[in-house]
Amino acid sequence: MIRLIFYWIAILFLQLVVFNHLGFTSHLAPQVFIILLITLPLHISKSYQMLLGFLVGLVADLFIGTPGIHASACMWLIMLRFFLLGAQDLKEQIANHLPYNIHSVGLSTFAATATSLVLFYHLYVFWLESIGAINWIFILLTTLLSSLFTLIVIGVVQLLSEKSSGEF
């Protein structure tokens, strides 16, 4: 449990202090913290998952300075995750109180789910942010670049956690 809390704080800290301020190019705004929501354990009730998504998004909003955008996006992400996971056979993982990650559901399933969720999240956030001056080329390019970066980081974190018994 303590390790889990430490892990959550570490990921949020990384997001707020490092990934929000990369600044190589304005096309790179990766939202790595959504790994927390993608890998949420499956036995938690849907309402709690929704509430958790809202709170995590609100924290991100506070530090990035966008009113409501990330909170809204996080809840859509949780909603989309319900749909994607509903189509997968996860009775065993639910019974064993496992989180949703590479080790519990296998690489290909996890990669497909994570990729669609990450792409959706970035597209939604960048679109919502630029309402009033929508520049689709910019939005799509930023989405692709940031999603790629986020997926690489998620992959690395998942592979690293294998050594430590795959608790997350």
């Binding site: 600044g23 300075g65 809204s72 809840m75 942010e129 930023t142």
Partner: protein
């Protein structure tokens, strides 16, 4: 009744989703740019301390460079201006004309929070009302124009940067003022665009763009940028002019707030207070 309760329990997450999304919508759309800025402001206040800590460390790395840029700028801008002379005061450089009456105060400040990747970019500086900074004051960097103050509290102010979709500056090119806005279109973070310049105007790539007389927020002749591209189309008689900003917003560290001392007297004289 029991079935209703069971239904609600079963679909609690959807109810929660709708209610919370509603809250997000209220947050997102009921806040106008000004209130959005104050949200950013109060939110960023929480991170100010940590940002300031890292600023105190990283601030030294390019201090020398920034100082040289500032000196060059001050020299260029005011060297040939016979009316004004510089007085260096405590923390404030004050420009005076020969009648010894203050025209502009220039307050140096450090940027503690900055974004370039959003559609509405706002940065926060570590000087506020205590240093005389109020809403609607011009902000320049050592390279050129940077933004306009939209809110200030005792110690900090938030500044709408040039990279904000609501920003609109009247440009002066080759000593002619063009009353068509210089705007950012949420594209490249160093390119602004002017859409209404007639093809008959004598402008070319490389021409410098300055602030003009029509703004009370900035002194005349502050560099905004340089024309980098003149986009033409057969069907239009206007250029779409791309302007490369003089200020590099990616490494904006030090800025100067310009306080027009006569603004209180000048504003009521305008037909509509805009």
């Amino acid at each position: 009744m029991q079935r209703l309760i069971a239904f609600i329990e079963h679909n609690m997450h959807i109810l929660l989703f709708i209610v919370l999304q509603g809250m997000c919508g209220v947050l997102l759309f009921s806040l106008n740019p000004y209130q959005q800025a104050s949200f950013t402001h109060s939110a960023a206040f929480m991170t100010d301390k940590s940002n300031e800590l890292s600023s105190t460390v990283t601030g030294y790395f390019n201090l020398q460079e920034q100082n040289n840029l500032l000196q060059a700028q001050v020299a260029n801008q005011f060297k040939n201006d016979a009316r004004s002379s510089l007085y260096f005061m405590n923390d404030t450089i004050t420009l005076r004309d020969t009648s010894r009456r203050k025209l502009y105060d220039v307050v140096p400040a450090e940027v503690v929070f900055n974004t370039i990747s959003k559609a509405s970019n706002v940065f926060i500086i570590n000087k506020g009302a205590k240093n005389g900074i109020q809403k609607n004051m011009g902000v320049i960097s050592s390279q050129g124009l940077a933004g306009i103050v939209i809110q200030s509290n005792a110690n900090y102010s938030s500044v709408m940067s040039l990279l904000h979709i609501n920003m609109n500056v009247i440009p002066t090119i080759n000593n002619f003022e063009y009353y068509t806005g210089l705007k950012w279109d949420n594209g490249h973070p160093q390119t602004l665009k002017i859409t209404g310049l007639n093809k008959l105007e004598e402008i070319k790539v490389g021409d410098k763009v300055y602030t003009g007389k029509s703004s009370l927020l900035f002194p005349e002749g502050i560099l905004i940028g340089e024309i980098s591209q003149l986009e033409t189309s057969q069907s239009s008689q206007y250029f779409t002019t791309h302007v490369k900003t003089a200020t590099n917003f990616r490494n904006l560290d030090y800025v100067y707030v310009i306080i027009n001392k006569d603004i209180d007297q000048l504003l009521p004289l305008l037909p509509d207070n805009d």
